[in-house]
């Protein structure tokens, strides 16, 4: 610790900190523009100039390291003169168009100009004009307002991991631009809007729709990925106008991914359900809630009575709240059924009888910073969990974390991957077994007894070179973690992947866990939205069709492991009750009743994130039209069905009943052995990603996100050798067929796909006909 003096106040600050850090400790505010605590130091705006004893010139607080006994003045005459001088320079070429600028009212330049600017400018020459750029559908550019602080440039390079912006030209001709004819395509691009201290980068979807001071600020939690990003939702006249990050260093820092930020547009979508609807032959009848719920209760009761509870199945989106999931499973169980599941894209449920608790990340998100080895198994990390990937990226940059990967995909995560086993899905289990064998050998330890037999049968010979390299890498680490991604969870032999990950983690002395697919991937387990021993899981409910289904927040075609089969199973059912926020063709085709429930912005609820953090939130606006919070609808339905335990007054009461006091005791990734499933592969294997802006109904209905690069139509990606073997060229139109059906796509060469595999995105209408996310495909030229 060093003792220094700031404005006459003695403060103790840690070694190696800057005057800016010290000022923060001392509670002294130093005006600044280019400085940002999460970015590298530029020291270029010169607004934070301070006076330091014995220094002949004023020094920038952001870049000046503290030395023992230093005396700093931040308010002296010389400092104020220097800062006013800088302020004048910043304003001479600024258009001063605050009345028509979206940044007005929350603009650092405006705020600081109040303290350091003059009433009139001494600059009477012509002002600089900089042409606006096309930065894509999310970020709007007003380049003349730019003060060249380069926060945006540093963000894209350092945080987003891809240099997409730069400052071109010299002198006053300097301007921020993308590479020629490129837009900003980062999945984190919206953060540029928050970072820009002036109105040069503003939100395109929000543009000119409200002034910042008219907006209420309300806290919420992102309903998308499993990180549980903390939000500030800003509303006006009972409408959500925009979404900003709520800083939480343990979860999302001060960042949002674009889907967290811009999915709010879907809340005002025309596709929102606002009135209960009952099917009348080919048409739909708008009805009141009473009538709709009585209809549902009567028919569910009838089916339960006539065909038994087992004829009823409930399938819930993992983006639903804990309260909704809890009441849904309670309702279904009250009807005498155990058939409830929220793991809609999963196809291997063999771990269910042998798992010790609810699968989770296996560690705290904040502890990523302390890891030195990470093995990511079967994940599209960057797009599936953008902010978790960002945290990993920072740990790599700052702390030397080494990341390795196993999977059929090697798309760029914008962070260095030390060792990679690029293997087809069918070879992933063997690869993990190989890593375990190699690691056991390096550690001089024996494999778990239950697995020895499997190894003999499976790995047979030596572990592959890649498996050896990964084992070597893990063995050299002190703090090791393994993460199973969405592709591993959706894998045809996901349970075996979990078993082997557990063994590698044991041998490596580390933790293992699941990145999680959705906002409530952990919460669903805790809420009991999984079948009991007698119940049917999500896959069984589709394979063995039931007479009645209750669908919560999911679209049959897009949110399931096999959209085509789901549509068929639900289409044949006698009764399908669909609770959801959106209307969708694949719901209309199968449902008999559509009940409009509210999305996260219009209900109280709880998400449990991947690390087991319970985060509750309240509604930020009133429900749209006649939509109602899901938990309330289910509670009334429970009452109508005369099932006991549906008398909760508040969402909190439901949550407390669902989660109890101590959820951490219920988080456990441990599994016992799962018998190997022998698979014989003859054709091309499908690698299915769930594109970031198609993963849930909310993002699918957000127009600006749908214009972004991440919402491009699916293609058939194959490595060059795979294309060669098929006699195809990149760019050819091809017919991709599975047992379920066929689609026509464009073949694209992508050496980030394992040989013998075709990567075709799921969750998109264009590929629903292909059926399951996993399995074999054939490809031929059209």
């Amino acid at each position: 610790m060093l003792e220094i003096e700031i404005d006459g106040k003695a403060v103790q600050v840690p070694d190696g900190c800057t005057v800016m850090d010290a000022a923060t400790v001392a509670g002294v505010h130093i005006p600044h523009f280019c400085y940002h605590k999460k970015l590298s130091i530029a020291a270029s705006c010169r607004m934070c100039l301070v006076q330091v004893e014995k220094a002949p010139k004023p020094l920038p607080a952001c870049a000046t390291p503290v030395t023992g006994g230093m005396k700093v003045w931040t308010q002296s005459e010389a400092v104020v003169k220097a800062q006013r001088g800088v302020m004048e320079f910043l304003l001479i070429n600024h258009p001063l168009d605050c009345p028509i600028c979206d940044q007005g009212g929350e603009c650092q330049l405006q705020d600081i100009a109040v303290g350091y600017g003059d009433v009139q400018s001494r600059y009477q020459e012509e002002k600089r004009v900089v042409f606006n750029k096309n930065f894509g559908p999310l970020v709007s550019s007003d380049a003349s307002r730019c003060i060249n602080c380069t926060r945006c440039v540093r963000f894209t390079t350092e945080i987003a991991g891809l240099m997409e912006l730069g400052q071109a030209n010299r002198s006053e001709h300097a301007e921020i631009m993308t590479f020629v004819e490129r837009t900003i395509d980062s999945e984190l691009s919206g953060n540029l809007i928050d970072l820009c201290p002036v109105g040069a980068l503003t939100s395109k979807p929000f543009r000119f729709s409200a002034r910042s001071w008219e907006l209420s600020r309300l806290r919420s939690v992102s309903p998308h990925d499993a990180l549980g990003t903390n939000l500030i939702v800003q509303t006006r006249h009972d409408k959500v106008k925009r979404v900003l990050p709520f800083e939480n260093s343990a979860v999302n820092d001060c960042w949002l991914s674009d889907k967290d930020r811009f999915s709010y547009e879907a809340l005002a979508s025309d596709a929102r359900l606002t009135q209960p609807l009952i099917r009348q032959g080919e048409t739909w009848q708008e009805v009141g809630w009473q009538e709709a719920l009585e209809f549902v209760a009567t028919h569910l009761q009838g089916i339960a009575r006539e065909r038994g509870g087992d004829a009823i199945g409930a399938l819930a989106s993992p983006h639903s709240t804990v309260e909704e999931l809890f009441l849904l499973q309670k309702l279904v169980r009250g009807l005498g059924s155990q058939n409830v599941d929220f793991r809609l894209r999963q196809s291997d449920f063999r771990a269910d009888p042998v798992r010790a608790g609810a699968p989770w990340l296996g560690m705290a998100v904040a502890d990523v910073d302390t890891l030195d080895r990470l093995l990511v198994i079967g994940s599209f990390l960057r797009k599936d969990a953008p902010l978790l990937a960002q945290r990993v990226r920072q740990a790599v940059r700052r702390n030397g974390l080494q990341v390795s990967a196993v999977g059929p995909n090697a798309e760029d995560w914008l962070l260095p991957v030390r060792e990679r086993a690029l293997v087809a899905p069918a070879d992933m289990v063997d690869t993990l077994a190989g890593i375990a064998v190699a690691l056991a050998a390096k550690r001089g330890e024996a494999l778990a007894e239950a697995l020895v037999e499997d190894v003999a049968a499976r790995v047979g010979g030596e572990p592959s070179a890649a498996a050896n390299a990964i084992a070597e890498n893990l063995a050299s680490g002190e703090k090791v973690a393994l993460w199973l991604g969405n592709l591993a969870v959706q894998h045809a032999r996901g349970a075996e992947l979990q078993v082997w990950a557990q063994e590698i983690a044991r041998l490596g002395g580390g933790s293992f866990g699941f990145i999680g697919e959705a906002a409530n991937s952990v919460g669903g387990y805790l809420a009991g939205a999984v079948p009991g021993a007698q119940g049917a899981d999500a896959q069984a409910l589709i394979r063995t069709p039931r007479a009645a289904y209750v669908l919560l927040g999911a679209e049959p075609a897009l949110d399931f492991a096999d959209g085509a089969a789901t549509e068929a199973a639900l289409g044949a059912a006698a009764l399908v009750v669909a609770l959801g926020a959106f209307d969708a063709p694949s719901i209309r085709n199968v449902a008999d009743v559509m009940l409009p429930i509210t999305p996260f912005s219009e209900t109280a609820g709880t998400f449990v994130n991947c690390e087991g953090r319970v985060q509750s939130f309240n509604a930020v606006v009133q429900p749209l039209g006649n939509a109602r919070p899901g938990w309330k609808v289910l509670r009334v339905l429970g009452n109508l069905l005369e099932i006991s335990g549906f008398s909760q007054e508040t969402a909190e009461a439901v949550r407390d009943e669902a989660l109890g006091d101590n959820i951490s005791a219920r988080l456990d990734n441990a599994v016992t052995r799962v018998a190997p499933a022998r698979t014989v592969v003859t054709g091309l294997q499908r690698v299915a990603d769930v594109p970031i802006h198609f993963a849930d109904p909310l993002v699918r209905h957000a127009p600006s996100l749908q214009k972004s690069g991440d919402a491009a139509a699916p293609v058939a990606r194959m490595a060059q050798p795979t294309l060669d073997a098929l006699g195809l060229n990149s760019g050819d139109r091809v017919r991709v067929s599975s047992g379920a059906g066929q689609v026509e796509l464009t073949a694209v060469v992508d050496d980030g796909v394992a040989r013998g595999c075709v990567r075709v995105a799921a969750a998109h209408p264009a590929t629903v006909a292909l059926g399951p996310l996993v399995g074999e495909l054939s490809v031929e030229r059209v």
């Binding site: 010139k57 800088v86 400052q167 002198s171 006053e172």
Partner: protein, 439 residues
């Protein structure tokens, strides 16, 4: 006349840039001696300190001291860089050193690398002198072929490789940290210091950067001794210095003089003020140095301390001579335009202020000056100087401050009368294209 050229000595031959010619002049003897005697690096640095050599790029920092800043026990590569990005208006000495005597720079750099334990070096050569860059490349090839550069220099354990790197004409790349960025392939923008290059230079490794002329002085210091070099000049101002004299003189060119030589001698060597006109002002150290009026400069000796005492800087030794036909407003307008265009655009005061300065001066020159413009000029220049990342801000402010200080009446006349104090016909005579009498 106290002219004892070291760097420019013996350069009247035909192909003085060839290795053979350099060796015939006694070249590479200093290096050979060091390798033969296995001279300890500390001794070399001590010799450098004794020489009183100060950096010839402009700042005048003692070179021996700079060399001693390099961390001794640093594991891994250390770098050496030669700053031949000679962009300062008025300066053209490094160009001639590299053009006629490139091996002295190579020898100087090899000795420096030996003294500081550097394994790799770059000579960053100004983009506009491409033929000089090519000639330097040839010289490097000669030195490598002769075993004077590369692995196991002169069959010793010492290895050092040197590469030429040419810029693309940005003045800012002559700023040492911008030069490092440029070598790394990035946009040439100065780094904030600290950390200094001695601890965090090229690719984050310890790096020493010296000017071409500084390196060119090293062979003599090592062969003739630091003290002998020191004795050529004045205390604290050792050795000789090349002055690039330009402007209104009869024989513009490079003159190597002992430091401490009176300015009047340099002016006489350059053939005096042309056309026999009266001397008006001199910028003694390149365009960034404050201008000095005739009466002040005529009493000065040419060394760091004397020029500094007179209120300017010896800088790079670029002496710009202006006679009575010069309009000082027009001269300043031209200088300000240069800094306005060459500001790197990184930090606020320089990016915004240099354009403002230029526009005010441009206005005054074109008869659109306002009563408070001189105060505004002083104020804007004051708001730039001392508040920027690198010295370019100061370099842009100093000419303005000094021109207004010494020739304020000319500026005031411009503002008041909307025309120049120096009649146009006299200006026209002074700015005629000049043909040297000796040609």
């Amino acid at each position: 006349m106290s002219a004892h050229p070291l760097i420019l000595a013996g350069l009247d031959g035909d192909r003085t840039w060839r290795l053979q010619d350099y060796v015939a002049r006694g070249g590479y003897e200093a290096l050979k001696k060091i390798i033969r005697d296995k001279t300890p690096p500390d001794e070399i640095i001590a010799e450098m300190k004794a020489s009183g050599l100060r950096g010839r790029g402009g700042a005048g920092f003692p070179s021996g001291l700079k060399w001693s800043f390099m961390p001794r026990s640093f594991p891994g590569d250390k770098y050496l860089a030669c700053n031949s990005d000679e962009g300062e208006p008025g300066t053209f000495k490094d160009r001639d050193i590299l053009r006629y005597n490139p091996h002295t720079v190579i020898e100087g750099m090899v000795i420096a690398a030996y003294a500081m334990g550097c394994t790799r070096g770059y000579n960053y050569i100004h983009g506009e002198i491409f033929e000089v860059y090519q000639r330097f490349e040839e010289a490097l090839a000669e030195a490598r072929a002769a075993g004077l550069l590369g692995q196991h220099i002169l069959r010793s354990d010492f290895s050092f490789d040197l590469f030429a790197h040419h810029g693309y004409g940005a003045y800012i790349c002559g700023e040492e940290t911008a030069l490092l960025e440029s070598i790394e392939g990035k946009k040439g923008q100065p780094r904030f210091k600290p950390p200094f290059p001695a601890s965090f230079g090229i690719y984050g490794k310890p790096t020493t950067i010296n000017n071409t002329e500084t390196f060119a002085s090293v062979p003599f210091i090592l062969s003739g001794g630091g003290e002998a070099f020191q004795n050529l000049g004045k205390p604290n101002n050792g050795g000789t210095k090349i002055f690039s004299i330009s402007g209104h003189v009869n024989r513009p060119g490079n003159y190597e003089l002992n430091l401490g030589t009176p300015f009047s001698e340099l002016l006489a060597l350059a053939g005096g003020v042309r056309g026999g006109r009266k001397l008006k002002a001199v910028i003694p150290g390149g365009s960034s140095a404050p201008v000095l009026p005739a009466n002040v400069i005529m009493d000065c000796t040419l060394d760091y301390d004397a020029i500094s005492k007179a209120g300017s800087m010896l800088g790079s030794g670029a002496v710009i001579v202006m006679d009575e036909s010069t309009c000082m407003v027009k001269a300043l307008e031209r200088l300000s335009y240069f800094y306005h265009e060459e500001s790197c655009g990184q930090c606020t005061p320089c990016r915004e202020g240099t354009g403002w300065l230029y526009r005010i001066i441009h206005r005054i020159e074109h008869g659109l000056g306002r009563a408070d413009d001189l105060d505004l000029l002083r104020s804007v220049a004051g708001n730039i100087s001392g508040r920027t990342i690198c010295a370019l801000g100061d370099a842009a402010a100093m000419p303005v401050q000094s021109f207004v200080k010494h020739f304020g009446d000319e500026f005031a006349y411009h503002v008041e009368h909307k025309k120049c104090l120096v009649p146009p016909e006299i200006q026209a005579v002074g700015s005629q294209i000049y043909v040297s009498p000796s040609c």
